[in-house]
């Protein structure tokens, strides 16, 4: 176990089942993502020492915080953890300044106040020090919570869905602020979120959780476009999950050929799968390109497939299309196109359209017999 950063292994069968392993290096932002009830907050609480799980170990910068085997459990107040709660959990009767000062009790009072003012200035709250939380906006409260968490000079910063209680505009502003702030932070930062876009924007690494199990960790873009299993694919919102057979590998061209519904598709070279093997494959919607109906182009030669539009659903500036490829009885292809593109191409329900499945976006996974997507084929 390396000395730097935080290393977490948690295991228990109940009351909240956990089988989680994660590591976060100093200065790194690790996003824990998963649906509600997947155990994200439970893991965060266990790291903070607010919850004791049955089995496992937690070490931070070489210090053991928890080791079930050796019966070690360091109390939350001794762990030096900065925790930003989903509801912020500010002390409602204390001013912003005193909220922050409470986190630095080991300092003399005068020094405490000076430092608290500095930290509040760092999160752009100068001038609002004397306000109680109720007199601050949601975004300002979140900043006080961040300031309080940082004031303790924590060895790990835990952020539990810190952006969920603010409006969209404030959230965008807070994203920028956190992105700026994190450059100055030298400790591991663990961010819990169920918003994949948020994770993509803020995190260096992503860890997908489901029912208390950590399923896959990696760079956010990799996890979201190259899931390890069908379960992860579904959890990161990939809807185009199908089955196919591996036809051949062409190392020279960096291509693996698969057969899907009598189409011979080119995929990025993935030699882990043997020729003849049945696989599950996914493609993110961003790798599906709509063919122009009035003017064919060269790009259309890449994995062209066609089908009738089953559903054409306007979603703000975009239109979500469901396309029946090789018949309406098989799982359809999902893609989203800008509304103006849909209009220009006269796309409507029942219209026959062509799309290209970009080879780079086709990702193969082991065929999953037990946990299959809805009617993969």
């Amino acid at each position: 176990m390396a000395d730097h950063g935080i290393h977490v292994r948690l295991c228990q069968s109940g009351p909240i089942p956990l089988d989680a392993a994660l590591d976060c290096a100093p200065g790194e932002v690790l996003a824990l993502v998963g649906p509600s009830g997947s155990g994200k907050t439970t893991i965060l609480r266990a790291i903070a020492g607010l919850l004791r799980v049955r089995d496992g170990a937690i070490a931070c910068n070489g210090d053991c915080w928890f080791d079930a085997q050796r019966d070690v459990f360091v109390a939350a107040r001794r762990r030096r953890v900065g925790y930003v709660f989903q509801s912020y959990a500010l002390f409602p009767h204390l001013s912003a300044l005193h909220n922050v000062m409470e986190a630095m009790l080991e300092l003399p009072v005068a020094e405490r106040e000076r430092r608290a003012r500095d930290v509040l200035a760092r999160v752009r709250l100068s001038g609002l020090e004397d306000r109680v939380p109720a007199a601050l906006s949601g975004g300002q409260q979140q900043r006080v919570a961040v300031a309080r968490a940082l004031a303790r000079e924590p060895r790990v910063l835990l952020l539990d869905e810190p952006f969920s209680a603010v409006d969209r505009a404030t959230r965008q502003r807070l994203y920028r602020e956190l992105a700026e702030l994190r450059r100055e932070l030298a400790m591991p930062v663990i961010l819990v979120t169920h918003d994949l876009d948020e994770a993509l924007m803020l995190a260096d690494r992503l860890c997908v959780l489901h029912q208390g199990r950590t399923l896959q960790s990696g760079a956010p873009y990799d996890v979201m476009t190259r899931p390890g299993t069908v379960e992860v694919a579904q959890l990161v919102g990939l809807r185009n999950v199908f089955r196919a057979g591996v036809l051949a590998h062409d190392s020279a061209r960096g291509v693996t050929f698969i057969e899907w519904r009598k189409h011979r598709l080119e995929a990025r070279l993935q030699r882990d799968f043997a020729v003849g093997q049945q696989v599950t494959w996914v493609i993110p919607q961003g790798h599906i390109v709509l063919h122009r109906r009035d003017r064919p182009s060269r790009g259309e030669r890449e994995n062209p497939v066609s089908g009738a539009v089953l559903e054409c659903l306007p979603l703000g500036e975009n239109v979500a299309l469901t396309v029946a490829v090789n018949g309406p009885d098989r799982p359809p292809l999902f893609l989203t196109v800008p509304a103006h593109t849909a209009r220009r191409n006269g796309i409507a329900q029942g219209v026959e359209i062509g799309v290209s499945l970009l080879a780079e976006g086709i990702h193969l996974m082991p065929a999953d017999e037990t946990r299959t997507p809805a009617r993969p084929a």
Binding site: R45, A48, G49, L50, A75, A76, R77, R78, R79, R80, V81, G82, Y83, F85, Q86, S87, A89, L90, F91, P92, H93, L94, E102, A103, L105, E106, R131, V132, P133, A134, A135, L136, R148, A149, R152
Partner: protein, 223 residues
């Protein structure tokens, strides 16, 4: 106006509040913060004085503290006089009878604190005492104040238990509520009226002051 009875009632109420304050904080905090098997039964037991007729409670206390009981015998051998029909006996009865009035509002006060706030205090490095002193007590203050006022006002007006355990010894156990009853029995309605009005006024001032203080602290918290 029986000043001695009024003074005794105020003294009894003050002592009852003083004893139940730390006890109520401890029990209210423990009941709010912990879940344990049999908690409902403990809460039911503590609430019992609310539903028991005062004479029933008074009777049991009279038996439990009387000269024939181990408690009564122990007290008498230790202090040299009986526990029943004394101010101390009255105080014990008053404390027991006021338990629900003290503990329940305090428990609700502690329960009103979001669990995350306690978690945040732990993550900030606050000790248990510091968390209680700086965070929990100020936040539970409206409940604590209500408990103190209710206990005080309820003690002033208590009649049944006081009569059973204390009798009506002037200057020792004759409280204002009993003095009012005595005056009515003696057809001195004017005297009873003055004392009733005094009791009404004191209770009103105490409750009014409590409401005022709590609403002010809530307003302050709202910024």
């Amino acid at each position: 106006m029986d000043w001695s009875a009024l003074g005794l009632s105020l003294k009894l109420a003050a002592w009852t509040v003083l004893i139940l304050l730390p006890l109520g904080i401890w029990a209210g905090h423990a009941l709010a913060a912990h879940q344990f098997r049999g908690k409902a039964w403990v809460e039911a037991l503590l609430a019992l004085p609310l539903v028991l007729p005062p004479t029933v409670l008074g009777y049991y206390l009279l038996v439990a503290m009387g000269g024939a009981s181990p408690v009564g015998q122990f007290y008498e051998s230790w202090v040299g006089r009986p526990l029943v029909f004394s101010f101390e006996g009255l105080l014990v009865a008053s404390v027991l009878f006021n338990i629900p009035f003290a503990i329940q509002p305090m428990q609700r006060g502690f329960e009103s604190i979001a669990p995350e706030v306690r978690d945040a205090a732990a993550c900030c490095g606050l000790s248990r005492w510091r968390t209680l002193w700086r965070i929990e007590l100020p936040l539970a203050w409206p409940g604590i104040l209500s408990a103190m006022v209710l206990t005080f006002a309820h003690t002033l007006g208590e009649f049944g238990v006081v009569l059973m355990v204390g009798g009506s010894i002037p200057g020792e156990t004759k409280t204002v509520a009993i003095a009012i009853y005595d005056r009515v029995q003696a057809f001195d309605t004017a005297g009873a009226g003055v004392m009733s009005a005094a009791l009404l006024l004191i209770s009103l001032i105490a409750i009014g002051a409590a409401y005022f203080t709590t609403s002010r602290s809530r307003l302050r918290r709202r910024g």
